[in-house]
Symmetry: C3
């Protein structure tokens, strides 16, 4: 972000610090989120070089649209520790010109969740803990990123794979896609997927999925709020790109501020959420792109966002 | 409210004060809510006389049913500061014989949200802050009022206009109505509308609306919980009146207590919500209308509520 | 639960106690929940012997599937204090070999809610308080039990009867079933049912139900998340048993841990929910059935759960 923009955010943070009555309504994690936007954070994970093998994730990037493919179809795109680290790396790196991320999968299964071979007594408790912590850090990262993350699903998404779809900001899926949390069948209740799924669908839907492991259809996933849209296989690519391109037409900074604010206010009680959001609206209007957007609207012309200077 | 009823509420508050183990489960804002019901509060806003011009809101009132019209169709019923103040005034004044409020709009657009001409650098940060604070106070007022507020929508509701529909207790809409949060198009992310919309629909639906600005149909709004019913243009008036008249048949006091309790308990963790609601049920049974309602049921006759004396 | 299993849970609790940074993320009620699983609690209610009369609840039990019938069809299965106590007793007793509970009703009405004859001034405030506290304890018990509770509904469920359906983990209902919170008609707003209903359906749906008392159809209940499935009268028994039998095929301990974790994490802010759920996943993998389930999966055989030893 530009030095100017940074100083604006910094001013907001300082204003908060000076007026404790405002600070107290700011959620604990908000300063963290804003700091992240201001200063970035060093990547926890290094790039996953897969000596001689196919990389676990593949990316393409064009005009600010990064597509990340889960690329381990033989293992049903299992979220092994290496896969999670590779995905984390590809989500996080080189944010500067990035506008939107599309998450897809190679093969017939979007993702079958954790690699159960990694979760035996042999690998040990410390390793298990590392797997789940890394998984959570991927989930948190998706929502902490400046840019929207769209899942494009054409197949089965189960356990942590279902959690991944539930976590993305937007999810477009084909009619044949299915969603399940079947850990109970292998004696490992889908408790971490339940965090994301339980916040996406009504409790009764989540519990039936968790207790029985039965999959739900794309249409039921839409009905219950787990996904954004069901689109035919022929049209899903075009529909996904339409949303991605629409996002590219907006101001990167405004979208970043809006995304961070949305997740921050949703974790607050409603009246505090309004106090935070009101403050952000006022700040948004002081951003260069806020001023430009309103001017362009009044002057009936297309806005020119700051990044396009 | 009658002196008797006031003293009953006051007894409840005092009982709370004496038994701290109960007080601690009462949400911070509940005492405020109950105080509001007990003693009223002085109106923040004075009536908006529009010297020589059409008033920004119009009201009619009959048999306890107040209809408020947003009345600035040329400006697509923009929620300018003056419009918000006029709306606040009409929502809040003369509560005594009021039983229900219906919120409608003149013209083809329900409301296009804030008046962007008021949000330029020229009007300044203090003014912007006033606009957003007034908007929030309208939203909070709708849910704090003793009486239910029904939105009747026949057209487009965007940004703060969409927030207004999301905030009402009940919303009936025609099939042609649409809902959007398109602020991102003018560089002003719909963060305050996101507070209401994000609490009404699944997160994925809210985020797609916020990131793309795309409108959703009346049917999708129903599917996702943003509105209560979709009714044809021919029948919406009759359907709205049916609900309003049904509300008029109930006890004003019981409905007021029920509405305040609903919003209070929804902001609590479930077990505390139950503790509060249990207590209110016991109090409700000591209200004159509580005693009368149960008696009438047992004696198989129509209840006669206290206001009808 | 086995001594071994108890010591595992106890180890977890002690680990929490030693590492305060973990303890602080554990919800207040979680230690209670785990204690409950570890040590059980003495039943608050004694068996409701109905001297000479038909018992208010009937149970059958086979292969770990307990069916409890509300058995007061003449009084529309009113949730009188005696009925609530009888239901509490039948839900809570003899948990050891229990795997799942199905809650059904005799007669055409699932339940009409509280017995209004018990809520007159004659019975008095202390009695009213006891009724509501007992009702809440039934609702909390359903979600605190180790085993899933499935409501099977074929008829009308109103007020606390609707609350009961909303509270069960899973609910299968026939097309003719209806759901309402009509307390406002008898001057007693459905504030306690509103706790469960308001957490199951969108706010606008809940408020229209509460303000008007109008029933919603089985299909609308499904659309809005109040129930899990709508199934024809011919098939509902088979469909319910299919889910119950599926649950019986899983590990009792894993399901118990999963259910307790789901409700605990849902009451936490998302990041804390993940911290708790991660920890539980690691613990789950140390359970005998966790180890067995993963081994069986890798060895492509059916798992043999510890209870089947």
């Amino acid at each position: 972000m530009s030095a100017r923009s940074v100083s604006r955010y910094a001013r907001f943070l300082k204003a908060c610090a000076k007026k404790p009555e405002r600070v107290k309504i700011v959620p604990n994690n908000f300063v963290g989120i804003v700091n992240h936007h201001l200063f970035g954070t060093s990547s926890v994970f290094s790039s996953q070089a897969q000596g001689g093998q196919e990389p676990l994730t593949l990316t393409t990037e064009q005009n600010g649209i990064r597509t990340i493919y889960l690329n381990d179809p033989k293992k049903r795109n299992a979220l092994s520790l290496a896969m999670l680290e590779s995905l984390h790396h590809d989500l996080k790196r080189d944010q500067e010109d990035l506008r939107v991320i599309i998450l897809k999968a190679k093969g017939h299964v979007f993702s079958a969740g954790h690699d159960l071979k990694e979760l035996t007594p042999e690998t040990g408790e410390d390793f298990h803990e590392k797997v789940f912590k890394t998984c959570t850090s991927v989930m948190n990262l998706i929502q902490d990123l400046d840019v929207p993350v769209i899942a494009q699903v054409n197949g089965l998404a189960t356990a942590a794979g279902c959690q991944l779809v539930a976590t993305c900001d937007i999810a477009l899926v084909t009619p044949k896609s299915q969603f399940a949390t079947p850990g109970v069948n292998v004696g490992l209740f889908c408790s971490t997927p339940g965090v994301a799924v339980g916040r996406a669908v009504p409790r009764k839907v989540a519990l039936e999925m968790l207790f029985t492991g039965h999959p739900i259809s794309a249409q039921d996933a839409l009905l219950h709020g787990l996904v954004s849209k069901v689109v035919s296989e022929e049209e899903i690519e075009r529909e996904t790109m339409k949303i991605a391109e629409k996002i590219c037409e907006t101001s990167r900074r405004v979208t970043a501020l809006g995304k961070a604010t949305f997740y921050a206010q949703m974790s607050l009680e409603k009246r505090n959420a309004y106090r935070l959001a009101e403050r952000i609206m006022v700040e948004n209007l002081t951003l260069e792109d806020g001023v430009e957007g309103i001017s362009a609207f009044i002057e009936k012309r297309k806005p020119v966002w700051s990044e396009e200077d």
